[in-house]
């Protein structure tokens, strides 16, 4: 019965794992709802901000801010948004794979790359992968606040203004639906505007106190809000990816238990049969 005992312990340990994964699945499901609500509640700000920036793109100020001017790209900065924790399927690795491909393309064109990481997993990745990390923000928790991002984003924007960077991209998982997360690399700076026919005539704002001050404040906030949205969206992706991953882990554990149970029953029955045949054999010999 030694084999049977081993199988029984194995089943018990898989059952424990299954309990953990199913609990994690339920926690992730509850957090996912909250994360999605949070994602939706950031939309109005982003939309209004985009509208204002769209207007601004068509204004004709005497001063053109450097965030809106394209220049020759020699150095690119990436803001990489990842989760703090693992056990969420291929969420982070898919993003990093896409990012590495993008970086390879840049490096082949002779462009230098630098990084700003958000989330523990990205920090761990760049430790292994190498590359210059300029700033980091980790342990943002489930409800990230925009205050947590001011610092890292400012490091990147300062580098852009000093000419240390010519282009800033942001990499994150965009939320399509619960089952699908799309790793995305987007251009952040210089700001790409959309054209709007209605505003084609010559006009400009009144700026208070002056255009330079107001524009840099406005554009900085715009970029921060984009980064914040990326973080919030990535958070919703994390929870839904974890929920799906944990659900499949729970299912797999169930399958494994069924299989082992079958093997266990067979082993038990074989042992009993052997015992009976031994007894019968013994009785016949007497």
């Amino acid at each position: 019965m030694a084999g049977a005992k081993e199988i029984r312990t194995k089943i018990a340990s898989i059952k424990n794992t299954q309990k953990i994964t199913s609990a994690m699945e339920m926690v992730a499901a509850a957090k996912m709802r909250k994360a999605q609500d949070r994602m939706l509640s950031t939309r109005p700000y982003a939309e209004k901000m985009k509208r204002v920036i769209g207007h601004l793109y068509h204004a004709h100020p005497e001063y053109r801010h450097s965030f809106m001017v394209e220049r020759e790209v020699k150095r690119v900065g990436y803001i990489v948004v990842s989760s703090d924790r693992g056990l969420c399927g291929g969420l982070n690795s898919n993003l990093f794979r896409k990012l590495v491909k993008d970086i390879k393309g840049q490096q082949e064109a002779g462009v230098q790359v630098q990084f700003c990481v958000i989330g523990n997993k990205a920090l761990g990745f760049f430790k292994r992968f190498g590359g210059k990390v300029m700033a980091e923000a980790t342990h943002l928790g489930d409800a990230a606040h925009i205050e947590d991002l001011i610092g890292p984003v400012k490091v990147m924007l300062d580098a852009y203004e000093n000419g240390e960077l010519d282009h800033i991209n942001i990499a994150y998982n965009s939320f399509v639906n619960t089952m699908t997360q799309e790793p995305t690399v987007e251009q952040l700076v210089p700001i790409a505007g959309e054209s709007n026919e209605e505003l084609k005539h010559h006009w400009d704002y009144i700026y208070e106190p002056d255009s330079k001050d107001v524009l840099s404040g406005l554009l900085t906030r715009y970029i921060e809000s984009l980064a914040y949205q990326a973080v919030v969206e990535n958070g919703a992706c994390e929870q839904s990816a974890r929920m799906v991953a944990m659900k499949s882990a729970t299912d797999n554990a169930g399958d494994l238990i069924d299989e082992l149970q079958l093997v266990y029953n067979k082993a038990r029955q074989a042992a009993i049969t052997q015992e009976i045949s031994e007894i019968v054999g013994g009785a016949a010999a007497v």
């Binding site: 610092g151 009144i206 106190p209």
Partner: protein, 142 residues
């Protein structure tokens, strides 16, 4: 019917107000401004204070506190982009320095929280292994 202007007040973490109004008052850095419909385009910083929205038609004036932000005026739309955080250039600077320092610390392998968490996980695993070995020994003896 009197003329109205559309007012949106939003912060990064949610929508605060959206609707029509006859008049909007906001605490701009150069002094309070009152915006009536068909105001000329204007962008300005806001300082912490009260944004008042007068919906007209005898309805009461609505008050919203903002801790700063940006006000944009188009002839028919007023947008208040409120800050959730208290902003000042030296505070921003400190946050930036902090983010840089953390990155350096983490990469230099100092006792950042990241290292700690990893070490803790490894320790837990090692303890579990030892316990398993001990159990095996007992079984063999017994």
């Amino acid at each position: 019917m009197s003329m109205k202007i559309h007012v949106d007040i939003v912060s990064a973490e949610g929508q605060i107000h959206s609707g029509q109004a006859e008049m909007v008052y906001a605490p701009a850095v150069m002094g309070e401004v009152g915006i009536a419909p068909r105001h000329t385009p204007l962008v300005t910083h806001l300082k912490p204070g009260d944004v008042r929205v007068d919906p007209g038609d005898g309805k009461p004036i609505e008050h919203y506190f903002v801790s700063g932000g940006i006000l944009e005026v188009q002839p028919h739309v007023v947008t208040v982009l409120a800050d959730t955080a208290v902003r000042a250039s030296d505070l921003d600077e400190a946050a930036a320095l902090d983010a840089k320092r953390r990155a350096e610390d983490a990469l230099a392998g100092k006792q950042a929280e990241f290292e700690y968490a990893k070490a803790q996980a490894e320790l837990a695993e090692a303890v579990a292994q030892l316990r398993a070995i001990e159990k095996l020994r007992k079984i063999k003896k017994g």
